[in-house]
């Protein structure tokens, strides 16, 4: 079987070489980079615009963004026929291609987030490294901890008031530069699709903007969801253990999620959600109005074959219901959880409808291709390009985030600025 043949069913007149080449991993990739960008923008809302109520969320979002950053290239690594040759993008980049921007943008963004995290947690690194330095006989674990934290200080041990103030300024600058870079990180993913003139569904100048808007939406939503879950989890764990070594934690912190933090974050979520919906509807209306050559086949896909995927799953469940939930006054945590879950699902469906939907019709405009997502993996190919592969990618950020929170603790109020 040729690549793509296994999960493609052709109908009517399709060119012989046409298959669904860009499958679920290419759906996961913009989804993950969108989460990265969205989480970062959320964090910057505090650092750059000084929205005080978002302080707790900001630290959380930044670390989560960094964890997501390591997961984001994984869909590509799984998709490439030659994953190890992926390094060619850095070695001989062809900048006329949007994908070549990946090397620069990703590295730049990674550098910015890593630097921002360094400034944010520098004091914590010093405070962990120095006592360990003094300690004479270290256990193996302590040795490892010492090496890690010592190198993380980058040789800077000054934690005076003045240097900390400089750190704060650096954070603000990095967060400010980071916003356009984060937008670029996801905007270029939109450009990857929007610039393909051969694909009638993808080609629109609105594509990069739609992607960015929905990316921010998904990032904010995921941060809200993870924040709620983590805070509630901590509260539950604390209430089960004895309080002997938790004497430092004030009762207030363990009250769980602050409803105000959620409400103000939801406000921003709503703003970007409205923008994303507006742009997508605009695209649809324009297509119908101008009715170019491809409209007949695209209409049959949008209003016919993919109607449920687009209007029920993406627009109704993913956009309309969350819109109502967040517009109604008196937002509760429970409603917020349902809302953000639907939003994340909606953003995923948007990526699905763009990537898979764009391959649902043939280049002939006189045939269709149906995508059967491989559910049960039978070999490496059906694993990596199937449900199992997609789920692995989706779950990967969480253990990574847990590991990172050991180095960049997200809950101890003392370590942050």
């Amino acid at each position: 079987m040729v690549h793509g043949e296994l999960w493609t069913v052709k109908e009517l007149f399709v060119y012989p070489n046409e298959y669904i080449y860009w499958s679920v991993q290419i759906v996961m990739y913009p989804f993950m980079t969108g989460l990265v960008a969205g989480a970062f923008v959320l964090s910057s809302l505090y650092h750059v615009f000084g929205i005080k109520q978002l302080r707790e969320m900001a630290r959380f979002a930044l670390v989560f963004s960094f964890a997501l950053l390591f997961v984001a290239p994984m869909p590509i690594v799984l998709h490439l026929q030659y994953p190890f040759r992926g390094v060619n993008i850095f070695m001989t980049p062809h900048f006329t291609s949007a994908i070549a921007a990946f090397g620069i943008v990703f590295s730049a963004y990674g550098a910015i987030v890593a630097s921002e995290l360094w400034f944010l947690y520098r004091k914590h690194f010093v405070e962990v490294a120095l006592p360990l330095k003094e300690k004479q006989d270290k256990s193996l674990l302590e040795w490892l901890k010492f090496i890690v934290f010592c190198s993380l200080t980058l040789g800077v041990y000054d934690v005076s008031e003045e240097t900390l103030k400089r750190d704060e300024k650096a954070i603000r600058v990095l967060a400010a530069i980071g916003i356009p870079v984060a937008c670029f990180l996801h905007g270029y993913a939109g450009f990857i699709f929007g610039s393909v003139k051969a694909n009638a569904l993808w080609m629109t100048p609105l594509m990069p903007v739609i992607f960015i808007m929905s990316a921010i939406v998904s990032g904010i939503a995921l941060c809200m969801l993870t924040y709620i879950i983590t805070m509630e989890l901590r509260k539950w764990l604390w209430s089960r253990k004895k309080s002997s070594y938790r004497y430092m934690e004030s009762k207030q912190e363990l009250a769980g999620v602050e409803v105000n933090v959620i409400r103000i974050t939801a406000k921003y979520l709503l703003m970007f959600l409205v923008l994303a919906i507006t742009l997508e509807l605009l695209d649809l209306i324009f297509r119908g109005y101008t009715a170019v050559k491809s409209w007949d086949v695209i209409r049959s896909v949008i209003y016919g074959r993919d109607f449920t995927d687009i209007f029920v799953l993406q627009y109704a469940i993913g956009n309309l219901i969350p819109l109502i939930i967040f517009l109604l006054p008196g937002l509760t945590i429970r409603r917020a959880v349902i809302g953000v879950c639907f939003v994340i699902f909606g953003v995923f469906m948007m990526r699905w409808n763009v990537v898979i939907g764009g391959q649902a019709f043939s280049l002939t405009f006189a045939g269709y291709m149906h995508y059967h997502l491989p559910i049960v993996p039978q070999d490496w190919e059906t694993f990596k390009e199937g449900l199992a592969g997609a789920l692995s990618i989706a779950l990967m950020p969480f253990p990574l985030f847990w590991v990172m929170s050991k180095i960049f603790p997200v809950f101890d109020a003392k370590e942050s600025h």
Binding site: M1, V2, H3, G4, E5, V9, K10, E11, L12, F13, V14, Y15, P16, N17, E18, Y19, Y21, W22, I76, H79, L80, Q81, Y82, R85, G86, N88, I89, M91, T92, P93, H94, T96, S97, A98, I99, A100, F102, I192, S195, V196, K197, A198, N199, K293, S362, L363, T364, F365, A366, G367
Partner: protein, 261 residues
């Protein structure tokens, strides 16, 4: 007075800084960027297809598979033939069973999924065959979107793929409006018709041109005014596929019908 430590530190930084440009700046050579577009090359390969002469025998597809080592049973092909049947009621049916690897041996149209369309002879208004292959475009969108420079255009116009460099992202396959590209089932790199480059550079014809008994396929050099193919392209009414994409395809069709996709 500079102390020894600072002197050594700064020297090391300086050497590192100088060593860098030597390795780095081969990404862009400004001179080559503004390469001579006026192009002193004496050869620019083009293709001519006569859809009146094509009978749909599929010998070209078979020959191409053997010549270019594309596994015979794999459902991908560097070239193929399409059939169009227009009925008196104004309906158009089109198919390309296995890319016409085995020719067209039945009047029933293959609709995919095991379904066939029977068309009565007396209902046919017109019907014809259209061979397709890579158009070796003058503005190839597939080359533009390759992120690593694995696919490229040679000075004589032929677009090729470097199998040792291709990472298999599939962007070029998505970028081609004509659907001529695919993943090679054995090499797992992007693959497409390259005008049998190993033959034409030795003065031979492409495998499909040689295999066609009816002369429906011709290879030419548009830069040679004495070339019979060039003469036909310049003097007769020829069409190209999907002109609206701006790719400037270099495969020319005689008898191109409005219904051809």
């Amino acid at each position: 007075m500079i102390n020894r430590r600072d002197f050594l530190k700064n020297t090391a930084k300086g050497i590192a800084g100088i060593a860098l440009p030597l390795a780095a700046f081969e990404i862009f050579n400004p001179g080559k960027l503004f390469a001579d577009k006026s192009d002193s090359s004496k050869v620019r390969y083009v293709f001519l297809i006569d859809t009146y002469k094509c009978v749909g025998c599929g010998m070209c597809v078979k020959a191409c598979k053997h010549e270019n080592e594309i596994p015979y049973d794999a459902n991908v092909t560097r070239t193929w033939v399409e059939r169009y049947v227009m009925t008196k009621e104004g309906e158009t049916f089109a198919d390309t069973p296995k890319g016409a690897r085995d020719g067209f041996t039945t009047s029933r149209i293959d609709l995919g999924g095991g379904k066939f369309q029977d068309i009565r002879q007396k209902d046919i208004e017109k019907a014809f065959f259209v061979p397709k292959l890579c158009n070796q475009c003058e503005n190839p969108p597939c080359v533009q979107v390759c992120p690593v420079g694995a696919t490229y255009q040679a000075p004589d116009g032929v677009v090729m793929v470097d199998r040792t460099w291709c990472i298999g992202c599939g962007y070029c396959i998505m970028g081609c409006p004509y659907g001529v590209r695919f993943f090679h089932p054995v090499y797992h790199t992007a693959e497409k018709c390259n005008f049998c480059y190993h033959r034409i550079t030795k003065g031979l014809k492409t495998a499909c041109v040689q295999a066609c008994p009816f002369g429906a396929r011709q290879l030419g050099n548009i830069k040679d005014p004495a070339d019979p193919v060039t003469k036909i392209i310049m003097t007769e009414r020829v069409g190209i596929l999907k002109e609206e994409y701006g790719t400037k395809p270099q495969a020319f069709y005689l008898g191109l019908d409005r219904e051809v996709k």
